[in-house]
């Protein structure tokens, strides 16, 4: 009798020992894993901090040397003796103008495609069309640059732009915006058009997503009182999704502002503000891409300062975009 109870006691003790060991190892791996995930999450914050700090450290000499003047100086003379004169005006101008023109082209197209996909498109071809548009976003930037350089640029310069120039040659203002003095493969406008193609999928994808948050009952009600398709889109879908659409447009703008390789190939790398969109220009990212590898001293610091400006600019735009999209999500969730 006693032996049996002792045996079972031993077994119990052995089991509980085992359990304790197993539990202990579980607790350990549990803690480790939870710690690892937390560390990784904080690493994301550190990454942003690291980017900002390294940019500020790198840009500091240029900030000290040029101060606010940097933003309003057009001259870019890195080799000037004894001290270089460097100003960000030309690349800022090129960045803003190229993104603006790209948005001007891409927003109507993107929204048009989204309206077609959500309101008109037969179900069977909706997915292939969406896929085709979204694959545009997958094509690497350098491929766009190459295609723009070899195909689109020469096509525009040889067949399209001369007739635009000829059409407006006697109209004041327009003839300086579309000046024929420098029409070539490489220009601000050609870069803008490539940018427009590149951001089109972002606008379309987000617009399709936010359009589909419109409760069907709203649209059905509008159709029910005899609205045409356009009236439903214009009076129900667009007002309901305005915040989201603007958010998507801002997100695309953030992309356009920072796009590098495609633009570097076809904008012509010229630090001159000419006022003509058919003239070569430069952008912040193109200036960095084409000059950074060989820069030194103040020149390099000024390029990093350009990078910092670009980061701040895109940060503001992207943050606004996310804010708007978040508001929409909250509303959709509520």
């Amino acid at each position: 009798m006693t032996t049996i109870s002792e045996n079972s006691k031993n077994l119990d003790m052995a089991l509980s020992n085992d359990r304790a060991r197993v539990l202990k190892s579980l607790v350990l791996s549990d803690t480790l894993f939870s710690f690892a995930t937390r560390a990784a999450a904080y690493a994301v914050l550190l990454l942003l901090a690291g980017i900002i700090i390294s940019l500020i450290v790198g840009a500091w000499p240029a900030m000290k040397a040029f101060g606010f003047e940097f933003l309003v100086t057009e001259r870019w003379a890195p080799q000037l003796e004894p001290e270089p004169v460097l100003g960000a005006l030309a690349p800022i101008y090129g960045t803003l103008v190229s993104s603006f023109i790209a948005m001007l082209i891409a927003v109507p197209f993107g929204l048009g495609i989204a309206i077609f996909l959500t309101e008109l498109c037969p179900h069977s071809i909706r997915r292939p069309i969406r896929l085709a548009i979204e694959l545009l976003a997958g094509i690497p930037s350098i491929i766009y640059g190459m295609w723009g350089f070899f195909v689109l640029g020469p096509f525009l310069a040889n067949y399209i732009e001369p007739s635009i120039v000829a059409a407006v040659v006697n109209i004041p203002v327009l003839n300086s915006i579309f000046s024929g003095e420098m029409v070539s493969n490489l220009s601000l406008f050609n870069a803008s058009l490539i940018l427009a193609i590149m951001i089109l999928p972002f606008i379309t994808a987000i617009a399709v997503d936010v359009f589909s948050t419109v409760p069907p009952v709203l649209k059905e009600a509008a159709y029910g009182i005899g609205c045409t398709t356009w009236e439903v889109v214009n009076n129900v879908v667009l007002p309901f999704t305005r915040v989201g659409v603007v958010g998507g447009v801002m997100l695309a703008l953030g992309r356009a502002l920072g796009e590098t390789m495609a633009v570097t190939f076809i904008i012509g790398n010229s630090f001159k503000i000419t006022g003509s969109i058919f003239a070569p220009s430069t952008t912040i990212s193109a200036a960095i891409a084409s000059e950074f590898a060989e820069s030194e001293g103040l020149h390099q610091s000024a390029l990093i300062l350009l990078g910092l400006l670009l980061f701040v600019l895109t940060f503001i735009v992207l943050a606004t975009a996310r804010f708007m999209l978040m508001r929409l999500e909250k509303r959709a969730g509520a």
Partner: protein
């Protein structure tokens, strides 16, 4: 109010414009693919995969060193970035779901997701290239990892949030510790989504050029030394386009075709992977 017929006409006209926009939007993809195929296929020989990049003015040669370098750096970049991304995404969706810091991290991650990749290049130049005093494949891989992280964080979080809580509750009720619930249950349920995220990240960095320009540079020869500049496809294409040499131009087109084919098929695979699970 205008007559119904006029309103109908107006609507039809605008919808016609939308249809035209769609046509024009889709046509770009085919124009670009057409150029790539027409110009890339003539150079698509076995030598592209077996020979090194040639000096200018020579015939023949291939892209072997560049393809190898791109594969290696992408693997290392994703190898570093994906685990960090998955862990961070796990924190956002599981441990930190109700933490105050989570929305902040998510917001910052979304910013990083769309941050210009040239900025990442500047960052890695300052943080890795300058201290190491050398352009290197390591620096390039780190730059790619920095781009991978936000992509994977985002998809991981999204996918884990799709896993029904009842699964987690059931597993917890069996007495499984939290980390087991996540690793054995939530990961398994979201596996297709997680793989999709990693594939999309690979597709994203596969063609990245800007962050490599001043982190790895490139290399005319074969090099497998991670601490030295290494040949890679995007920068090689960049250099070859910027050159009048006909042989280089041909190789650039062929390289561009290869990259695009790889990136687009990854995109499509990832999409079908994700879609097949969504539909379940």
């Amino acid at each position: 109010m205008a007559s119904y017929a006029a309103r109908r006409r107006n609507s039809t006209f605008i919808m016609g414009l939308c249809l035209a926009a769609t046509g024009i939007g889709v046509v770009w993809l085919f124009l670009i693919l057409y150029s790539l195929l027409i110009n890339g296929i003539p150079g698509l020989t076995l030598a592209v995969f077996t020979e090194m990049t040639p000096p200018p003015g020579e015939h023949g040669g291939g892209l072997l060193n560049a393809i190898f370098g791109s594969l290696l750096m992408t693997i290392i970049g994703v190898g570093i970035g994906a685990p960090i991304g998955i862990l961070a995404g796990t924190y956002l969706a599981e441990y930190g779901r109700h933490s105050k810091i989570t929305p902040v991290i998510r917001f910052i991650n979304d910013i990083l997701l769309s941050a210009p990749s040239i900025i990442i290049g500047l960052f890695v130049y300052g943080a890795v290239v300058v201290p190491m005093r050398s352009f290197s494949a390591v620096a390039g891989s780190i730059a790619l990892a920095v781009i991978v992280i936000p992509v994977v964080v985002r998809t991981t979080e999204d996918m884990l949030l799709l896993v029904p809580n009842t699964l987690r509750e059931a597993a917890s009720a069996l007495g499984l510790p939290r980390s087991f619930v996540i690793r054995r249950v939530a990961y398994r349920a979201a596996r297709a989504g997680l793989i999709t995220g990693v594939l999309l990240a690979v597709a994203r960095v596969g063609g990245e050029t800007a962050p490599l320009l001043f982190t790895v540079l490139s290399n005319q020869f074969w090099s497998a030394n991670l601490l030295k500049p290494m040949a890679n496809l995007p920068v090689t294409i960049n250099n070859f386009i910027n050159n009048p040499d006909a042989n280089w131009k041909q190789l650039a087109w062929t390289g561009a075709l290869l990259i695009t084919a790889a990136v687009l098929s990854l995109n499509i695979t990832a999409r079908f992977f994700g879609a097949s699970k969504d539909g379940r």
